[in-house]
Amino acid sequence: MERRRFLELSASGLAGLLAARLAARSAPARAASRRGPAPRARACIVLWCNGGPSHVDTWDPKPGAPFRALRTRAPAIEICEHLPRVAAEAHRLAIVRSLSSREGNHDRAQFLLHTGYAPNPTVAYPSLGAWVSEELGAGGADLPGFVSISGPSAGAGFLGVAHGPFVIPNPSQPPQNLAYPSRVDFVRFARRRSALETLEQGFANETGDARVQARRDLLGKAIRIMYSTRLRAFDLQEEPDSVRAAYGDTDFGRGCLLARRLVEAGVRFVEVVLDGWDTHQNNFERTKRLMGTLDPALATLLAELFERDLLRSTLVLCLGEFGRTPSINANEGRDHYPGAFSAVLAGGGIRGGLVHGATDEAGGKVVTPPVAVADLFATCASLLGLDPALTMRAPGGRPVALTDNGKPLHDLIESS
């Protein structure tokens, strides 16, 4: 928004002014301006369990199952025995055990759990991170608003590439290509940019196309990152060995540590991916191993955010695209199961130590009113100060709301 106004002011002459106006018109526009709820969280960290974690072997343990249930620091919560460190932080958790969707295909379900909508070929729905980036901006000013670690996440859809995820393939490696190439300095880079800006202005005038403007915004963001004073957030070596060890010697552990540092630097939305939960074979061995990675990382993240007084303002969410069948297949595996699955929330205004909803004895059926993905999104959006019904007009004029008629789960939200 700021940038657009700046462009209108600085564009020289009537043609430039017209170009900026035209570009603004075909870009997505807010359909109705409504004030969101008072924000409880200023940032959100999503720990994405890619592949669909078995809910009954993690957050929704069942008697008689191969893994035992473990009592936790929260009287109302029992979780899997292989999450002992998280159990010690369970008083911070709200576990939703009654999520239910109809998408049992990875791509479609991943899309649903990232955007709040089932894929629809005619609308490019933005992911939640993109909404946050668009609405709340980059809290770190010159860092991107939305960072995805170890995974490609989901894009910004019609909100435009400038709000898409800044992907960090490997948390141990700082982002590439941030330094000038050899024999280029500040002055020379500015000369290059001025030539580029002239070319872009010309092409924008010639075509009147919003895509040119979207690309200019993207380049502008990239350049601001180059000059950011907060890039040291990417340097995990600044952390003491003991802290790094506490998160676990895994990429996911390092990703969670990086997420904490990025949130401290002002980034609004960070997603960290832990892949491998698609356990059609050897479900128990593999799920146990994955919990061995998840447990120290999530527990340390929560403890550290609390110690640094960031947990109050940081919403942490841990989930995957669906659950897995209560029945065990011939390969000691479990198959896709969107009918019932769990999500874990903490911090950012979440009331800790509670369980919302329940499944039957086997874990195959939600026996309380089912929670739609849209409701989970509405809960997160509300905590971040966004109206779940916030509506933008996608190019072509179609109004699209932040959530698909989602209603926040009020019992999860701490009274302020």
């Binding site: 049992g104 898409g164 290509n177 024999r183 924008a204 196309d209 200019r216 074979q281």
Partner: protein, 579 residues
């Protein structure tokens, strides 16, 4: 006599034109113009010669035209030069190379699945099809019904890095086979082998890719609005569960494992997800219109291939025409191109139907379809600003902007900068490795999905940083021996000529008078040389090391000014988009 002749002539004139009469580009233009009038759209002006040529090269060859081609085309004063340019490209090896690459990416995805999927064998098969202009129905029939041996085996294509490397190699120069070819070898099976453990994805891909129908959402649930039910999807998928790969190489073979893909008399479920396939295995193979696929001899997969490619199939020709129209004009009649359904109507549906009829009548001749579309006004609109831009673009009254695909972008940067020639000179042994690294870096930065469903991908911040600060553009924009900039700086004449040459090499057009004047001032403006810092950081970059090894003379201020202009041209949206 004259009167009877007159009557006969009249009768001929009044008789309805037979439906299979060839559809001329002018007929299409007439229909499109009628629609523009009806919609009160003011079309963008026709595209000029230089921009036409660039678009055509990107669409048919996957790369921007070399500067010589631009100059020759602009100098050509004979009529019909646009049609001739289409013909030349269709007859050049670049056409088959490019379409092979497009379809290889579409069908196999960008990842090398490895194991039993021999990417090179599949590519060779595809390349032979496009080089022969094999009728599209024959090609698709052969693909969907394929049986036979996947590979000659051996070490080639053994690891993913080599596979990526192979992807950058020109498809027309395959590596020699490692062992004697198998008489039953059929590279086409490699696409099916990608899916042997996942028939639902294969069924979804077949319907989407060749029929433009998205039935896979019915895999999990009945679609609320559309007619596809879960049962339809299962019965369609059931056509693919009577096929299995039989191992040829025993034990731990090196590289690609050879298998023979065969049809079986009874259905089987394979792979880790077989427990989910029960209902599919039990379903009766049936085409989407209810045609029984089990009754036909030869097995349900062949029956399905025949049903898909039959001239009566209501989707096949339309979906193909729509895909090709979208590939060329930037938008399909139906968008997204693989989502034909009643609640997603086509624009100008009669024209789509007419083109489909013509495509069938031509014997599913892809080149003829391309020739026709490229000759239309719709293809030859400029991307200039219009009133009501979105709607004009949707009705082909203005050419949309499309980001170049990763391969096209890499090849175009190599073309514009002369980087390939420069690399060849510096490090011929490393050339393919360097290119493969660049491509994988580029592809990673582009890809959100393995098989992107949308073309709306203007890039990411890491990608923007790569182009602004990365070695690819910066080495490319420098005056290495044999590079474009070295050649441009050596041109006779002054800055005016050099600026114009740089513009032709990147934007494939001469600069306007105003642009020439501006860029001449730009390169002549006084400034200081920026030197390399005294102790250059140790870098693993082969290009940088090569430049250091050559001990190139320190660049002059003027040379750096040209590098800056070159850098800006390569980073510009006019370069980045197909427009």
């Amino acid at each position: 006599m004259p009167s009877s002749l007159l009557i006969r002539l009249l009768l001929v004139a009044l008789a309805p034109a037979p439906v299979h009469a060839r559809l001329a580009p002018a007929d299409i233009d007439r229909r499109v113009r009628t629609e523009w009038r009806r919609q009160h759209l003011v079309p963008a002006p026709p595209v000029d010669d230089a921009r036409f040529l660039r678009r055509l090269w990107l669409d048919l060859a996957g790369v921007i035209p070399p500067p010589e081609a631009v100059t020759a085309f602009l100098a050509d004063r004979a009529p019909g030069k646009r049609a001739r340019a289409v013909e030349q490209l269709l007859e050049s090896p670049r056409y088959a190379d490019h379409f092979t690459q497009l379809w290889e990416n579409l069908l196999l995805g960008r990842q090398a699945p490895g194991g039993v999927v021999d990417r090179l064998a599949f590519r060779e098969w595809l390349h032979a099809q496009f080089a022969d202009n094999r009728p599209w129905d024959k090609l698709v029939y052969a693909l969907v019904s394929a049986t036979g041996v996947n590979s000659d085996g051996g070490l080639r294509n053994a690891n993913p890095r080599q596979a990526v490397r192979a992807a950058v190699l020109s498809a027309s120069s395959p590596e020699p086979a490692a062992s004697a070819p198998d008489a039953n070898k059929n590279g086409a099976v490699n696409w099916l082998l990608k899916y042997t453990q996942n028939p639902p994805d294969l069924a979804g891909a077949v319907a989407r890719t060749f029929l433009g129908v998205n039935i896979q959402c019915a895999q999990c649930h009945d679609h609320p609005m559309e007619k596809w039910k879960q049962d339809d999807f299962r019965r369609f998928t059931a056509a693919f569960v009577r096929t299995a790969p039989m191992p040829i190489d025993e034990g731990q073979a090196m590289g690609i494992r050879r298998v023979a893909l065969r049809d079986l008399p009874a259905p089987v479920a394979l792979g880790p997800k077989k427990s989910e396939l029960g209902e599919i295995v039990a379903a009766h193979p049936t085409a989407l219109d209810g045609t029984d696929l089990l009754a036909a001899p030869g097995g349900p997969r062949r029956a399905l291939a025949a049903w898909i490619t039959a001239s009566e199939n209501p989707w096949f020709a339309r979906a193909t025409v729509n895909r090709m129209w979208a590939h060329l004009t930037g938008r399909g009649f139906v968008e997204p191109i693989d989502d034909f359904r009643r609640s997603n109507p086509a624009v100008m549906p009669e024209l789509l139907d007419r083109l489909a009829v013509d495509f069938i009548a031509s014997g599913y001749d892809l080149k003829q379809l391309i020739r026709t579309i490229c000759a239309t006004e719709a293809y030859q609109r400029s991307s200039a600003r219009t009133r009501d831009l979105e709607r004009a673009t949707r009705h082909f009254a203005r050419h949309p902007l499309r980001p170049l695909a990763p391969n096209a972008l890499l090849d175009s940067i190599a073309q514009a900068t002369g980087l390939e020639a420069a690399l060849h000179k510096q490090a011929p042994a490393n050339l393919e490795r360097v290119k493969a690294q660049l491509l994988s870096q580029l592809t990673f930065l582009f890809d959100v999905d393995e098989e992107p469903r949308t073309s709306s991908f203007e890039g990411t911040i890491p990608q923007a940083l790569l182009f602004m600060n990365g070695i690819l553009v910066n080495a490319g924009a420098s005056a290495l021996p044999s590079s474009t900039l070295e050649r441009v700086l050596a041109l006779p004449g002054g800055d005016l000529e050099k600026v114009a040459a740089l513009c032709v090499c990147t934007l494939s057009r001469p600069p306007s008078a105003a642009e020439s004047a501006r860029w001449v001032v730009y390169v002549q403006a006084p400034h200081e040389v920026v030197k390399r810092p005294p102790a250059p950081a140790a870098t693993a970059d082969p290009l940088d090391r090569a430049a250091a090894r050559l001990r190139l003379p320190e660049p002059t201020a003027k040379q750096q000014a040209y590098e800056d202009l070159f850098w800006a041209l390569l980073n510009s949206s006019e370069f980045f988009f197909n427009h």
